[in-house]
């Protein structure tokens, strides 16, 4: 019994009904399908091979030249295809826009976008766990301006400050010298003690008068005699800081004044230009 007969016998044993059924091919297919199929498959294979295969020899060496040639050809073709009167029209503006429209366009777009989505931004803003007084930020600028306007402006000239620092140095020097003589020269003790006691008894007004009576020569003499380099540097640095602070402190200007000054500077610059 060959394979075919064996299979038929097996089927007969399982289902006589099915074994008696004639095997028919019920499905139809296009005419000559199997005749053209091999070539179709080979064409498809070559297509897929082309997709994944290497480029033809010299492809990249000649690519740039071929591309430029094609661009030129297409440009020429396009130019030839377009009538002269139509080409001329292309460069004439048909529609007008307001002057400087495009200069401010981006700003307008930003403003419009913010206005459009402002409610969304506010709605989606993350909640802060801290609380602030009602209308705090609305009132803050006015409060700050009020404080600045009422602030006392003390303007000290650099010379006066230098004098003040120098006078203080002289007084301290005198006190230190008195202490030295008190310990080293008991004979002079009584005189120095008198000077110190006088200094202690001075009120502010008297102290100011004493200071104003000191000459520049006396001050510089003291510094040369008793001051060391570190003291001088310290005094100079302190004066420099005071200058910077005063520059800020000297300008409790209102916005209008500040703007006036800026405008003056700009005007002067414009004129000088």
């Amino acid at each position: 019994m060959n394979t075919k007969q064996h299979i038929q016998q097996e089927l007969k044993n399982i289902s006589p009904l099915l074994s008696n059924l004639q095997k028919q091919q019920v499905y139809t297919l296009p005419a000559e399908y199997f005749e053209v199929l091999p070539q179709q498959i080979m064409d498809k294979i070559w297509d897929t091979e082309k997709d994944s295969s290497q480029t033809p020899p010299g492809y990249f060496e000649t690519f740039a030249g071929k591309l430029l040639e094609r661009i030129k050809t297409e440009d020429l073709t396009a130019a030839n295809d377009t009538p002269h009167w139509l080409s001329a029209l292309k460069h004439q503006p048909t529609y007008l826009v307001p002057q400087h429209y495009f200069d401010a366009a981006s700003q307008r777009m930003v403003t419009a976008t913010i206005e459009k989505y402002d409610h969304l931004l506010k709605a989606t803003a993350p909640a802060t766990p801290y609380e602030i007084p009602a209308n705090y930020f609305e009132q803050l600028p006015a409060q700050l301006l009020q404080q600045v306007a009422t602030a006392k402006v003390v303007k000290i000239t650099t010379a006066k400050r230098l004098l003040q620092w120098a006078a203080a140095a002289v007084v301290v020097g005198i006190m230190a010298g008195a202490l030295y003589y008190y310990t080293q020269a008991p004979a002079a003790h009584a005189t120095l003690m008198t000077s110190i006691e006088e200094g202690i008894k001075m009120n502010d007004k008297q102290f100011e008068e004493k200071l104003s009576n000191l000459t520049d020569e006396e001050i510089s003499q003291y510094i040369q005699q008793y001051g060391n380099e570190a003291d001088v540097q310290q005094i100079t640095a302190a004066l420099a800081n005071e200058d910077e602070d005063d520059n800020d402190g000297d300008m409790p200007m209102s916005d209008e004044k500040l703007m006036d000054e800026i405008m003056n500077v700009l005007d002067n610059k414009t004129i000088s230009n």
Binding site: L17, L21, V26, L29, Q40, I45
Partner: protein, 197 residues
């Protein structure tokens, strides 16, 4: 190498007498005869594979797609084909896997489609040209669609292709005993369907 000379353009086209697989595979290894050898492989197996696929996917266009993709994969993989197994077995294995993959994809497409009913294989059979639900041969086709896919493949290979269990075992990588049981169940289910419809 007789067939190889027969494939030469100056000679007569190939007849129904196909060259054997060893000759085809040997010619495929040579660059000069590669394409011609592969055309020979297609011509030799296209009909058997087509009908194997068609009975599984029903619609001709689907069968054509699956078959063409199958041969493209064979072209790409034939260099790595180990000749210790038969080409015929290897091709059937690929065809079966391609069918199962296709049907799986079709199921996925149908699951997201609103027209599940129209996409069903039974409905596609009913839509075939010359369909007559009263005729036994069409009832057989409808009955086959009621089977689980792997059981349907076993039935196809045994009933239509008359494949021995030994060879089927290599194609489906399943034991002969399991295949015999599967075929038995398939035949019984089909008989029940025909008797009740």
């Amino acid at each position: 190498m007789y067939w190889f000379f027969c494939l030469s353009p100056c000679l007569q086209p190939m007849t129904s007498q196909h060259p054997d697989d060893q000759e085809l595979l040997a010619a495929f290894k040579l660059a000069s005869t590669r394409e011609r050898a592969f055309t020979g492989i297609i011509k030799k197996y296209q009909e058997k594979l087509y009908w194997h696929i068609r009975r599984m996917v029903v619609v001709h266009e689907d069968a054509d797609d699956v078959l063409q993709n199958l041969f493209i994969k064979v072209w790409k993989g034939l260099d790595n084909f180990r000749e210790d197994s038969q080409l015929y077995t290897w091709l059937y294995r690929i065809a079966t896997n391609e069918c199962l993959t296709f049907l799986e994809q079709q199921k996925k497409r149908a699951s997201i489609s609103l027209s599940n009913e129209e996409n069903g294989l039974s409905n596609q059979i009913a839509a075939q040209k010359n369909f007559d639900g009263k005729k036994a041969e069409w009832k057989l086709q409808l009955a086959m669609q009621q089977l689980p896919e792997k059981q349907r493949i076993v039935f196809n290979l045994r009933y239509y292709d008359e494949m021995p269990y030994e060879e089927m075992s290599r194609v489906l990588e399943t034991s002969e005993g399991a295949l015999k049981a599967s075929y038995h169940h398939a035949v019984k289910k089909i008989e029940d369907y025909i008797l009740n419809h």
